[in-house]
Symmetry: C2
Subunit: 720 residues, 2 copies
């Protein structure tokens, strides 16, 4: 039943010069992002940027032409140096450029590079050795987006939106912005794929932007202890079932200094997502959802008047519809665009037309399109990443829009992260695989053989690395394959019995196992292996990349199916002869903190020790957008909320559970953990607790070392 | 290594019948105030109240005359029953009286008892069997004080002050009250002995009251998590050196419905303390201090006009003056009053005169007057409690005002808590001693032999109680005696080595060792003794009842001398052959939490485990009144604040330290503990932390059981 794929790292170990006897042990400073030795160990990645379809190699000191548009080696012809750039700048006034690793080449037909100092953004022409355009960088912004097409910057300061046009003039778009009335900022708590609040038109002459009124939303009283007397730092936080914010979309024209708002009608309890422009800039497209999230409509608006136009596409789903990607027009046909949806159960591309007609499904199958990278116009193809080969393998494909034939572009192994060149001819592809830390390749979208640019060895060649393997086991439904990772203790002795820790996330929009390096092992797992623990991770139903049914089986009862699957993982784990079933621990953060607390309270005789970071405790304390998508409102689904609330399970706690939170967590507010403590206190159970003042939901910086020392110590105290 | 308790065996032990050899073990529910079995074990105390100089025995059901004014047994003649009282009440309208344990007899010459239901306050005349006066009880007040002389109630509702006169009419004294502008409430954060904000004149016809404007004080953002979305519950908290509140004293006359404010001048940075009335009600006396607290002035004000009159007495001290007691006039001489001060180094009584002249010292010696109980007019004596016999023994004395002769009134043992009868002839005295749980006696102030009313046996007769002893050791100055308590493990075996826990408070206005039952042992110590720990407590210099020099040696550097003395305690403790010096722990709350954290960080190689509750971490986060008295301001004493800050010692932490706080602590605000966590995180040290939502500075209720289970577990985890 259980198919096991074991990738031994023995070969890799033999290839390294240091022998097993004199290898080093990890410290958390070596392993953790934020640790003092982390960056010393990391191999430098291959830095490059596309200039049209040419590839320019970037270093601290200079930029050199690596490959021409045909993929021919250009002999690393130096284009310019950092000294050249600074010589052309009025450095006394605008400061210096210290490296050119972050250079970009916005115009394929011009010898101009976009750079900036701390004070000035500018275009340097390396042919004439002159700065051909410049503009001040606005300091202290809450958001900033630069549009190379118009050389305009949209930025937000004190919640008001401004546009600085190429002539340097700052146009103030809004004046009444406050924390509770925000312009140009991301809305809907970053759900529906929203990451920002400004959207330039293709030419950059117009700017669509979000306006969010959250004055009607209850504030959650976060506090900031960095001043001598702590200060209130409130977060407008609409909890499931409670009054939510109101969003509008405006179109600003810097030339006329006028704003038009899209005539959406009453924005109460509606979501305006995935803003996109038509190529001619006459139309703005918005994917709209009611608060119930059971319907998505692609609506066209007249950009000049704001008038609501046609609904181009409607999708409904009794559970939920979750549009995550703005539409993208074909570069060669302004009537046609690509829409992504999971309407057949998996995320796929559909070709649709402004002028109507049936959508044409471009990709199909029991796999997910993970990313749309762009077009290769020459071959009339779209370039995508999908997990067609295996749910945990992420490869790059070209899909011919006529034949719908998919062509594998990369080497077919591991997981790939790539950027597409402006003309679509080349991909700069960084990939890893269980036995490969990282390799950078220049990959052709037109059929040429990939060129290996750089192979990076493991950061850990001098260290004792545990055996890491991957495999599958059956979910609690008896049929679905779940993917796991198993990390054995360093110096593994099959005759011994080891304590084991399950690491878990378990929620939507994330996975923990794939065919990346070490099966995506988190460095802390190596640390735990070094301390003598087995570490086990399995992606349960409800996690990402496996299609709608796999994810949405948890609908209206988050945590239940997820736990059933995790317990199948435990069944497998404890079947291993070297795992001591009386010493099982569990750890997770956020949704994983929810899962950890849930597992500790629902299976108190299975798990002895748990560490739950930033946990959800009761979904009624979570926000409207995410919470109601998966749970409906507390009014609509009272039994579901009640059944899934860990407040009701606090009384079952038997083992050691430490809850750790960031004091300034505005995502999973303190109400969760504090209400859980109160419930435990009332029930006479004894969780532990810890707080990082100044940290938000996801811990950052050197606290990561402190945190993982703390987590490790807890298992060492009580599980060893 | 952690020793695990075999619960089933413990359960078996608990279920075994009690025999002389086989006593019960304590649970925290037996021991802790707030525990489910605590009250079952407590012997019922002797309930009685004075009626003039007669003693009335009170029970749930009835009141009976126990002794007449001559101290002659009155044969327990029943005065009235609870049924009698209810028969006279309109119980349908005002509810019933359920017991008469809280009855009082305000008029020596009338057969009237003051009682109340939940809705009505009333006087019942047991001779006529009638309710002779009644008044509604105001619901939802923030403060209420009843004056029997005028049958008036002063009360505060929504920060505004009201007076309900005997006729039932409610007079509104203030209308602009808010959280930031309070009328009739305690001020100056309860320092200087202030416990309330209303002060009736002797006849009850006038009311002096506090008005506190704290609108200029920075709010500390406490949060209340009991609603679904936590709400801000701010506390106006003036931190040392920062802007403080402004207090005024008003005089309200219900008859004219007018208020006059005392003409104190600008109240900025001044303290108005110890309000007292002259017998003729024409004058109000206030003891005033500047913010520097190095001077106290007794000032007379005209109650009718508010005009400032004479300064009757001035006292200065380069460290601090701390008046704690309002003046009290002699009942037989309206020109003379008693003033308490430590001006000769110990708290003593002085007879002063309104008409001037030198104060006459009434008590003198290297001991402290601990309490002024009142007068015995017949013998022209004042009745006091002092520790003249021993610093840790508290006895009752009569001081003849002519001869200044002090006469011991009680049995000379232990510590006494007494109330004086209205005529001053009798004391209802409850005392305990190291070997005596509690005895209640009727003690004569005129020389008659005490009558034993009731002897209460130990609550713990069925339990295994540890050996508890007291003793002295020398302070770090080599000369001062410090008093300690030592609790040995249950089943003590002198050949064994035991872990030991030091319990500490160490701050001013408190002591932990005296000649009360078990030397004032806290019940948790018995629990720890049962778990196999030695518990040790010593009152260091800086604690109370030992005079000004003993207390104020800590001035401007809190924690330093206190720790030196505690380390002398540790020296003694570890000299005991059965104490394992490698397993020392420390625990304390509030100032004791400061001491615990300080000891853990200053002597990291001595203490392995500490539990610090509600600790001060840096005195700059503490409030103005208490903080500046002992530390001056941060501006005046920057080195002192810096040296005493535990933020600077966070890096030294080696052992296990758990900090526990009430989330709603408005006394020692969260800034302390959170800033300490942040300092530890930055320094890479690892304290533990726990929070009780809803609890304030001093933990209450059933959480006390949870808390002490938690504290005990921590020592069991890491010290055993």
């Amino acid at each position: 039943m259980k198919k096991r794929i074991v990738w031994s790292l023995l070969l890799l170990l033999l290839m390294t010069p240091v022998t097993a006897q004199n290898k080093k042990s990890f410290t958390l400073d070596d392993l953790m992002w934020g640790g003092s030795n982390y960056w010393n160990l990391q191999p430098k990645s291959y830095s490059a940027a596309f200039w049209g379809d040419k590839l320019v190699k970037l270093s601290v000191d200079d930029a050199a032409l690596a490959f021409n548009e045909k993929g021919k080696d250009a002999g690393m012809k130096r284009l310019f140096t950092v000294e050249d750039v600074n010589a052309a700048l009025d450095t006394a006034r605008v400061g210096k450029v210290y490296n050119i690793l972050y250079a970009s080449f916005p115009y394929a037909d011009r010898t101009e590079v976009l750079l900036s100092t701390s004070k000035q953004r500018f275009l340097y022409d390396w042919a004439t050795r002159k700065v051909v355009w410049q503009q001040p960088v606005t300091a202290g912004t809450q958001h900033s987006e630069f549009c190379a097409a118009s050389k305009s910057e949209a930025y937000v300061k004190d919640w008001n939106l401004f546009v600085r046009t190429a002539d340097g003039k700052a146009h103030q778009v809004s004046k009444d912005g406050t924390r509770q009335l925000q312009y140009g900022m991301s809305v809907h708590r970053n759900e529906f794929g929203i990451e920002k609040g400004t959207f330039f038109s293709p030419s950059g002459k117009l700017l669509a932007f979000y306006r969010m009124d959250q004055s009607m939303v209850t504030d959650f009283p976060l506090i900031d202890i960095s001043p001598r007397v702590a200060q209130l730092a409130p977060e407008a936080y609409p909890m499931a079932g409670m009054t939510s914010h109101k969003v509008q979309v405006g179109i600003y024209n810097p030339e006329t200094e006028t704003t038009v708002y899209l005539q959406t009608g009453d924005p109460t309890d509606r979501y305006f997502t995935n803003i996109a422009w038509s190529p001619d800039e006459k139309t703005v497209y918005v994917i709209e959802l009611p608060r119930t999230q059971d319907k998505a409509e692609l609506v066209a608006y007249d950009a000049a008047t704001g008038r609501r136009g046609a609904v181009l596409y409607t999708e409904t789903n009794p559970k939920y519809v979750e549009p995550m990607h703005p539409i993208v027009f074909l570069p060669w046909d302004a009537d046609k665009f690509i829409y992504q949806t999971r309407r057949d159960g998996y995320n796929h591309l559909y070709l649709m037309s402004v002028s109507g007609g049936e959508p044409k499904q471009l990709t199909k199958g029991e796999f997910e399109v993970l990313q749309f990278l762009g077009f290769h116009a020459a071959s009339k193809s779209v370039i995508i990443k999908s997990n067609e080969a295996s749910p945990i393998r992420h490869n790059l494909y070209a899909v011919n829009l006529k034949t719908l034939k998919r062509t594998l572009l990369d080497n077919g192994r591991g997981t790939h992260r790539a950027t597409l060149s402006a003309g679509g001819a080349w991909l700069l592809d960084r990939w890893s695989a269980p036995d490969t830390f990282r390799q950078t390749e220049l990959v052709s979208t037109g059929g040429a053989k990939p060129v290996v640019l750089q192979t990076d060895g493991t950061p850990w060649k001098d260290y004792e690395v545990p055996e890491i393997s991957g495999g599958t086991l059956k979910a609690a439904d008896g049929k679905t394959d779940l993917y796991y990772r198993l990390v054995k203790p360093v110096g593994f002795d099959p005759a011994k019995k080891y304590p084991a820790v399950v690491y878990v996330y378990g929620g939507p929009h994330a996975h923990n196992v794939d065919e990346s390096w070490n099966y995506l092992m988190r460095p802390w797992e190596a640390y735990m292996a070094q301390k003598g623990y087995v570490v086990f991770v399995v992606d349960n139903r409800g996690s990402e990349n496996r299609g709608f049914e796999f994810e949405s089986v948890t609908f209206r009862h988050l945590g239940e199916v997820e736990m059933e699957d995790q317990m199948k993982g435990v069944e497998f784990l404890t079947s291993l002869p070297y795992v001591d079933k009386d010493r099982l621990g569990v750890h997770g953060w956020s949704f994983g903190g929810f899962m950890t607390t849930n597992l500790m309270c629902s299976h108190p005789d299975v798990f002895k020790v748990g560490v739950a970071g930033g946990p959800v405790i009761d979904w009624k304390y979570y926000e409207v957008m995410y919470g109601e998508r998966y749970m409906d409102t507390p009014q609509e689904n009272p039994e579901g909320y009640e059944r899934c609330s860990l407040l009701n399970k606090a009384k079952n706690l038997k083992g050691r559970l430490q809850i750790i939170v960031g004091l300034n967590d505005g995502t999973c507010v303190l109400q969760h953990s504090l209400a859980f403590l109160r419930a435990c206190e009332d029930a006479g159970t004894q969780p532990d607790y810890f707080v990082y003042p100044g940290q938000e939901h996801n811990m950052m910086g050197s606290d990561m070392v402190h945190l993982h020392e703390r987590i490790t110590r807890y298992f060492e105290d009580y599980l060893k």
